[in-house]
C-alpha cells in the first residue's frame, strides 16, 4: 500500500473486522456531511479525502500505522474485566463485556506491547474506543501499568495512544484508582530517565486526561480531537454559558499550551519516528564535526 509522500507503509486494519466490509459501502462524513466510499477511507488512513475529518482507528489499525510491519509483540495474553462490584445486581456489565469482546475481538479497551518503528524499539499502548468508549477500568489501568513497568525494566521509550470517554463506572472507585496506579508507574519510568510520548486522539476525556494522557514529555494530538477533563455537556450545564468556538479541540489545546503538536494522521508515523530518535541517547556517529558541517 502506498502511503503519503511515497513512503510504503504496512496495510492497516488487517486484524479488524471492519476490513471485511464489502467494497462499495458508503457512509456520511461527520466533518463535511458528504457521502464517502469506505474504500476511499481505507486507502487514506480513515481520513476523509474531502475535508480531512479523522475517523477513529481500531487498535489494530493504529498499531499498524505506528510500527514496523510484524514487529509488534503483545504483552501477555490480555486481561479481562470482572464484575467485582456485582454492579446493580443485574449482570448487565459482564453480559455487555462478553458482547463487546465478541463484536470487537478485543479483550478490553487497550492493547499493549513492544514494537519497533524505523528500527527503534519502544513500548506501545493503544486504546480502542469501540470497547466501552475506551473507558478505564481495572484492566486498562493494569495493562498500562504493566507495560510502563516493562518499558522501565527494558529501558524503552513509551508511547500511549489515548482515547477515552472516561472512567469505567461499573467498577466504581477501583476504576478511579487506576489513574493513580498508572501515574505512579509513569513516575518510575520518568525517574529512570526514559521518555514518554502521549498521542491524544478523539475523544480523550475524564480520568485518562487527568492521568497518563496529560503526563507525556511530548504530547501530540490528532486534528480536531476532543480533549478535556470534563465533557462539554457537563461544562455547559454547570456553568450555564456558551462554550468558546473550538473549545477542547486539539487546536484549542495547542493554543492553550497543553499540546506540543497537532499532527495529521498522514504525518503521525514519520513524526513519531523522528521524535523517538530525538528522545534516544545520541550515538557518537551522529554528532561528529563533519556531520554538523554537512
Amino acid at each position: 500500500m502506498q502511503g503519503f509522500f511515497g513512503k510504503t507503509i504496512s496495510p492497516l486494519g488487517k486484524a479488524s473486522p471492519k476490513a471485511d466490509i464489502p467494497a462499495g459501502v458508503w457512509l456520511k462524513c461527520k466533518g463535511c456531511e458528504q457521502t464517502i466510499a469506505q474504500s476511499a477511507l481505507d486507502s487514506n488512513l480513515q481520513v476523509c479525502p474531502v475535508c480531512g475529518h479523522h475517523f477513529p482507528l481500531t487498535a489494530g489499525q493504529r498499531i499498524a500505522l505506528l510500527s514496523d510491519e510484524g514487529s509488534f509483540q503483545q504483552l501477555g495474553e490480555g486481561l479481562s474485566s470482572v464484575d467485582t462490584l456485582d454492579f446493580a445486581h443485574d449482570n448487565s456489565y459482564p453480559r455487555k463485556l462478553k458482547e463487546t469482546q465478541a463484536k470487537t475481538g478485543l479483550k478490553d479497551a487497550v492493547v499493549c506491547g513492544c514494537a519497533t518503528l524505523d528500527g527503534t524499539p519502544y513500548a506501545l499502548a493503544v486504546m480502542d474506543f469501540r470497547f466501552f468508549g475506551a473507558s478505564m477500568g481495572s484492566v486498562v489501568g493494569e495493562e498500562i501499568t504493566r507495560l510502563t513497568e516493562e518499558a522501565t525494566r527494558r529501558h524503552l521509550p513509551l508511547v500511549i495512544v489515548t482515547a477515552s470517554g472516561g472512567a469505567r463506572m461499573q467498577e466504581g472507585a477501583l476504576s478511579l484508582m487506576q489513574m493513580a496506579k498508572t501515574s505512579g508507574a509513569l513516575m518510575r519510568h520518568d525517574e529512570a530517565g526514559l521518555p514518554y510520548i502521549a498521542i491524544l486522539t478523539h475523544p480523550t476525556t475524564g480520568g485518562v486526561t487527568a492521568s497518563f494522557a496529560s503526563l507525556g514529555d511530548v504530547i501530540l494530538a490528532e486534528p480536531k480531537a476532543l480533549i478535556g477533563f470534563a465533557g462539554p455537556r457537563v461544562i455547559k450545564e454547570t456553568t450555564r454559558s456558551e462554550l468558546p468556538p473550538g473549545f477542547q479541540s486539539a487546536e484549542f489545546l495547542l493554543d492553550h499550551g497543553l499540546v506540543d503538536r497537532v499532527v495529521p494522521r498522514a504525518k503521525l508515523r514519520a513524526e513519531l519516528a523522528q521524535l523517538l530518535v530525538y528522545l534516544s541517547p545520541e550515538t557518537t556517529a551522529g554528532c561528529t564535526t563533519a556531520g554538523r558541517q554537512a
Binding site: 479481562s80 463506572m169 478511579l176 501515574s183 513516575m187 480520568g207 487527568a210 496529560s214 456553568t239
Partner: protein, 318 residues
Amino acid sequence: MAVHLEFEYPIIELEEKIVALHRYSKTHAVDLAQGMELLEQQLAATREKLFSGLTAWEKVQLARHPQRPYPQDYIQAIFSDYLELHGDRTYADDHAIVGGFAKLNGRKVMVIATQKGRNLKQNIDVNFGSAQPEGYRKALRLMKLADKVGCPIICLIDTPGAYPGIAAEERHIGEAIAINLREMFRLKVPVVCAITGEGGSGGALGLCVGNRVLIMQCGYYSVITPEGCAAILWRATDAVPKAADALKLTSTDLLKLGIVDEIVPEPVGGAHRDPKTAAQLLRDALCNNLAMLAAKSDDELRAERYERFRKLGQFSEG
C-alpha cells in the same frame, strides 16, 4: 438554622419531645425523670438503629450535610499554630484548596485541605468546594516544600469534585490533577490523607495519593456522583439511590475493596451531631497513622506508597 435530612426526623422528633418535657418539668416543678430517661433510651436506640441501617444514598446525604464539619473546622479543632501559605506561583490563589504549616500533637506537619462554604458568600469564595487547576498546583507546591524540609503531609478532603468550568479546562485541570498523582508518588515524607466528607472523583484523588488513606464513617469516595451515574446509565433521577448503592462508595465498601486503609468512626448520627467528638476521633486517627509511618525511611515510604496503589484493581488473567 438547623437543617435536617428526611431520615433524621425520628431522631429530631424525640429530641424535641425531650426538650419539651424538660421545660415542662421545670416550669411546673414536677419530676419527670423517669419519663425522660425512657425517652433518652428510646432516642439512643433510634439513633443507633437509624445510623447502622443507613442506605448508601443516605450516607452520601450525610457526607454532604450542610452542618457537617468541614476541613477548615478540623484544621481549627485539631491543629495549632496554623500558618497558611498562598498561591500557585503561576496564576492565582485558589481558595477551594488551602494549605500551610501547622502543628499536630506538638509535631510540625504540612496540612492541605479542600474548603466548603457555610453560606452563599463563602461558597462563592471557595467555588462550592470545587477547585480550579491552581488549587492542585498550590497543593503540590506546598507538598514539595514539605518534602524538602522533611515535614509529614496531611490532606483533608471534602469536595464534590474538581470544577468542570471553561477556565478550568483552558488552564488544564486534567493536567494539574495528573501531575499531582505522579508527583505525590515521588514524595519522601509520610503522607496521610483523610476524606472527611465527599471524595468526589479525580478532584479528591488529586490530593489522595497517600501512604495511608482514611475515610470518616459517613464519608464517600466515588468515581462519579450517584446523580451523574444515574443520569448516564439509567437516564432517570429516581435511579440515584440505586446508583449510590451500585457504585460501592461507602466507607465500609471502600475498606473491603482496599481503596481506603481505615475508617475513622463518627459520633452516632454523624459528625454534625457532635463535631467536637468527631474532631477528636479524627485527630486520634491522624496521630496514630503518622506514628505508624514515623520510623520508615524515605525509600520505604515511597515504595510502600507505590505498592499501596499498585495492587488496586481486579481482573482475570488471560
